[in-house]
Symmetry: C2
Subunit: 439 residues, 2 copies
């Protein structure tokens, strides 16, 4: 009864040519891939781009109650983008298949859970005699993940089933995109351009006819003269479309909205809600709060109604697996949907594992960027100061991701009773290794 | 109560850059666009790429009982591909909008029926204050037609809902496509490569590891050494993907299958079957027979069951309008589905107009390529020889399309009791202008 976990964050299909990503983006993705360990149970096999740190494995398994020695962590040889991420060529490597067969003692896995369930995942499962162990494998083997993650198809499906989205359109070429931007600019609106496939806001760009727009969901705002729009789009087109592939989403940029999401597990039996939260953007994805603090009950009900309806539509065409559907709450309390992530999200480990340990009445804040001497030192310090997560009080801080090899930071999840307590505790935790001058 | 008909056959979205099509392909599409006249009722407005011949308008309207003088046929100024087809720039032309407002006496059309319902059609309807008159306009305005016509998405959806398709996959780049072809070649199978968007087999290419494969659904078969596959795909990639856009379908080519289709109208209320037929390929689409001659009842039931199920899936994501779903009947009587055409088809005028006049117990064969002195001469000759369609006997021949400006031929539909009578009558009709040496 082993599950095969595959930490393929930022595959080519999900994020485009790895050659267009920075080394830091790739290493960050590789670290995020290690969240797969949160889902592992005794005897599972985990494919990761690089060997995780021992302290991280120990922290996760101690929290989840898994015998670390029972896990098999398999790292395939480096591929076309090197070692930071699990590109398709690494999943296809015969040497990986042989290692997995050995790790599985020749048995086929009962279940395959990949971060991004593309055709390469189904092919790997097939090589192990277990294509059927990937939920929705027939859909996914035909490139279904690209469709189910497409921000362009999302707009058509949402509009088609009557779900409100930001005013906008999709464009197949720079001329059509420029005409669309011009229409928004003429009405005085900034515009967010979204690559059909990417993640965490890294495929987005905001363009504005005027200064003073704060970016949210993209790295920066480019102020453009109306006359310069066409040339800008021509120049940016390869980046905006991953080398000319796919359609570009052109949407009115809505300032002042609050980004939220609801997450589901889509199965043959139906659509199961697993949780929802707020996306913290600074200006791109920086963290998650579960549940959304102070969300009006009407807005929450609308968010859940619309996101479930969207999941039902994708379920009707054959998608199976996790769907994390992003929405926006306007200052007036209206809910729009924004995109769908038909893969594990940066919050799936919260909903499927940590929120269950935290139980009712708890707020979770998961964020990165805590600079620490080492992962082990951070874990020790939490324990020594009584700030580590304690199952008996169901409060405290867990270390959810190990970014130390990227930039000496860790990701953490603070669990407390309500957002104020969470924010207070977060500040305390982030002060644990404060510079001497501040202590 | 006017309907606006738009004869936009082979738009950029449907068929790729018109610069990659031959002049003959474009003119052929422009002639086929005139089939829109078959759907016109008194007072309707028809947008066509070029002015249709008077004899054709007279023949169609006399058959449909429409007052020709009540129709307004509007031809917009030439566009980026010239005058043969209705490219998006022609539909966006303000001069067209002004002419349409005049033709509609300032009223918005009650219904808009386009051959290919892309965002340019919705924008045109919107300019006339009637976006809502396009069925499924919200889905289509967001590029939904590209999704609903995608041969790549079709494979994912069909597989996802358990519909049998030819063994194969979709590929995002030449390396993946070459690997897929190599797998089929290694098993001794030829392969059909299909552009994500195109029509009438014009985006398909068959490659085979051995000679002796008869092409069906593509212009020709290219015999390739296994070692030459990668180079061939690299070289052909721009054509196979319309300049790098979209995914390529790579399928085992199945010799000896019979191409069929079933057609539906997908509405908010449900999925309505409008007919089915056989696709005559020589080697690309050459004609249609309605209904499929001698189709085993089990195979017909399976064709209708599978195609309806597919339509329901696209309905669930918001598509509305005509869907013509292609299938294949194997020599053993099994049914596979092949692609979906979410637009009017080359048979919609048969199902929605001519089959109703023909009534029960009739077989229809619609084909092009009858060389005639002129459209009017062909109509006169049919009448003079008693071979014109006669509503009282519900037999005889109609002229369904005017290709005379392309190559001096017309399209015709023979109506008779059964396929043998139809084929006999077709031979008689095609002999009406036989060369003197044969008479």
């Amino acid at each position: 009864m082993a599950t095969l976990h595959i930490g393929n964050v930022k595959t080519e299909e999900m994020s485009g040519d790895p050659g267009l990503l920075t080394r830091d983006q790739l290493v960050l993705a590789g670290c995020a891939a290690e969240r797969a360990l949160w889902f592992a149970r005794d005897g599972d096999v985990v494919v990761l781009p690089a060997a995780p740190g021992e302290a991280f494995v120990e922290h996760v398994t101690r929290t989840t109650g898994v015998r670390a020695a029972s896990l098999r962590i398999v790292v395939p040889p480096a591929g076309r983008a090197g070692a930071p991420v699990l590109t398709a060529d690494r999943l296809a490597d015969e040497r990986l298949h042989a290692e997995l067969r050995a790790a599985l003692d020749g048995r086929a896995p009962d279940r395959v859970q990949a971060y991004y369930p593309d055709a390469a995942v189904v092919a790997l499962a097939g090589a192990l005699g277990a294509a059927h162990a990937v939920p929705g494998h027939a859909f996914l083997a035909q490139g279904g993940a690209a469709a189910a993650n497409s921000k362009a198809l999302f707009r058509a499906v949402a509009a088609g089933i009557g779900i409100p989205v930001a005013p906008g359109e999709t464009a197949a070429g720079p001329a059509a995109a420029a005409a669309a931007v011009a229409r928004h600019f003429a009405a005085g609106h900034p515009v967010i351009l979204k690559r059909e496939l990417q993640s965490a806001g890294e495929g987005n760009e905001i363009v504005s006819p005027h200064a003073g727009v704060a970016p949210l969901g993209a790295e920066r705002v480019t102020v453009l003269d109306a006359a310069a729009v066409r040339a800008h789009l021509e120049e940016r087109w390869p980046w905006l479309t991953d080398g000319g592939r796919g359609r570009l989403v052109v949407e009115r940029y809505l300032p002042g909205v609050r980004p939220v999401y609801a997450e589901y597990l889509v199965t043959g039996a139906g659509v199961e809600h697993t949780g929802e939260g707020e996306l913290l953007m600074a200006p791109v994805l920086d963290g998650v709060v579960v549940p959304v603090p102070d969300l009006a009950p009407d807005a929450r009900a609308e968010l859940l109604r619309l996101t479930r309806r969207l999941c039902e539509a994708y379920r009707a065409i054959g998608y199976r697996g996790t769907m994390s559907v992003d929405g926006l709450v306007t200052p007036g309390g209206d809910v729009l949907l924004n995109e769908t992530n038909s893969r594990l999200s940066g919050a799936t480990h919260l909903h499927d594992v940590i929120a269950r340990a935290a139980g009712p009445g708890r707020t979770l804040l998961d964020r990165g960027g805590w600079a620490v001497p080492s992962f082990a030192a951070a874990a020790r310090r939490l324990a020594a100061t009584g700030r580590a997560f304690d199952p008996s009080t169901r409060t405290g801080t867990l270390l959810t991701c190990d970014f130390t090899r990227l930039d000496g930071t860790v990701g953490y999840c603070v669990v407390a009773a309500g957002i104020d307590a969470v924010r207070h505790e977060e500040a305390e935790v982030r002060g644990l290794f404060a510079p001497a001058a501040r202590s």
